[in-house]
Amino acid sequence: MARQKLKAIVINRDWCKGCGICVHLCPKKVLELDAKDKAVAVRPEDCICCRMCELRCPDLTIEIQIEEGDNE
């Protein structure tokens, strides 16, 4: 199976409560909390699309969009 390619990490800032679960449990340390304690994707190029942040987020804030029909 070809490796999944990230299209975008969409974070709903209005819903994020800054608990830091996504930041600390991301295997590639893609996310960080900004000055307002909201999650931001600072290293999206490292994302492996495991979607663990999306699934673990207690505030249903994160959506990992994956490039479709790409067979590179």
Partner: protein, 269 residues
């Protein structure tokens, strides 16, 4: 259907504290429902009172927010009158096993086709952190400043003994596993119980020095082990995770339909 379509977005951000495991359980449940491609109109969510019970307000299914501990009683009524609907009952540990303990064992005994989710954070969060029957001994709570002396229920053993035909346990850390178990529980015909350990960083974590939500999640990783795994064999004090019961037993609504059919036949002849 995207996950957001199953939510009542107008009520977001939700009322749970930052890092609350209940949000993760809602997330897992929505993913399970989405994976099964269920129609929103086929699902009824019935909940009682407590932090956990607020979940019914956030999902765009048919929903009933009922009285403390009695969610399963209401759900039994819904299921008997509309057996075609999928009935999901999320409950907290106190809601399910203290206030609603009796309803819980009898719903399991009847094996009525309901999915019960026990969102176990081992404390009454909404009312300020009192200990619950699932806290266990040696736990600090607002009502137990010198630690509790009460033993806790084992939800899995209790559900098993009462007759539930599907019993599983997971945690808010193991989201993929939890989603899988919820999927199986929803499709299972009969009373299914899924216990999901959920962190309460605000009350349980703070009182018991378990740190923040991330730390509590890591404790779930360290203190649990998969059923049948080597880790569990070597360290039997770990909390086992997995599917404990998956059996077939006559389902309550079907048995009731048989009684109706028999009675109508007698009346007609």
């Amino acid at each position: 259907m995207p996950v957001k379509d199953y939510l009542r977005e107008r009520f977001f951000p939700h009322m749970w504290c930052p890092g609350c495991g209940h949000g993760t359980i809602l997330n897992a449940l929505i993913h399970a429902v989405e994976g099964l491609r269920l129609n929103k109109n086929e699902i009824v969510m019935v909940s009682g009172i407590g932090c956990s019970a607020r979940i019914s307000g956030y999902v765009d299914f048919h929903s009933l927010h009922t009285i403390h501990g009695r969610a399963l009683a209401f759900a039994t009524g819904v299921k008997l009158s509309k057996p075609n609907l999928k009935v999901i009952v999320p409950m907290g540990d106190g809601d399910a096993l203290a206030i609603g303990g009796n309803h819980f064992i009898h719903a399991a005994r009847r094996n009525i086709d309901i999915t019960a989710i026990v969102m176990n954070n081992r404390i009454y969060g909404m009312t300020g952190g009192q200990f619950s029957p699932l806290s266990g001994p040696g736990v600090k709570a607002t009502t137990a400043p010198y630690t509790t002396i009460d033993s806790s229920f084992d939800v899995v053993q209790l559900a098993k003994a009462a007759g539930a035909s599907f019993v599983a346990r997971s945690t808010a850390f193991h989201v993929k596993e939890a989603t899988e178990m919820l999927t199986k529980a929803i499709t299972h015909k009969g009373f299914s119980v899924v216990e999901i350990l959920s962190q309460c960083p605000t009350h349980f974590g703070r009182k018991n020095k378990e740190g923040d939500a991330v730390n509590m999640l890591n404790l779930y990783k360290d203190n649990t082990a998969k059923l049948g795994s080597k880790a569990l064999e070597e360290k039997p004090h770990l909390i086992p995770r997995g599917i404990f019961v998956d059996s077939e037993r006559p389902e309550y609504c079907e048995e009731y339909d048989k009684i109706i059919a028999a009675a109508m036949k007698e009346k007609a002849s």
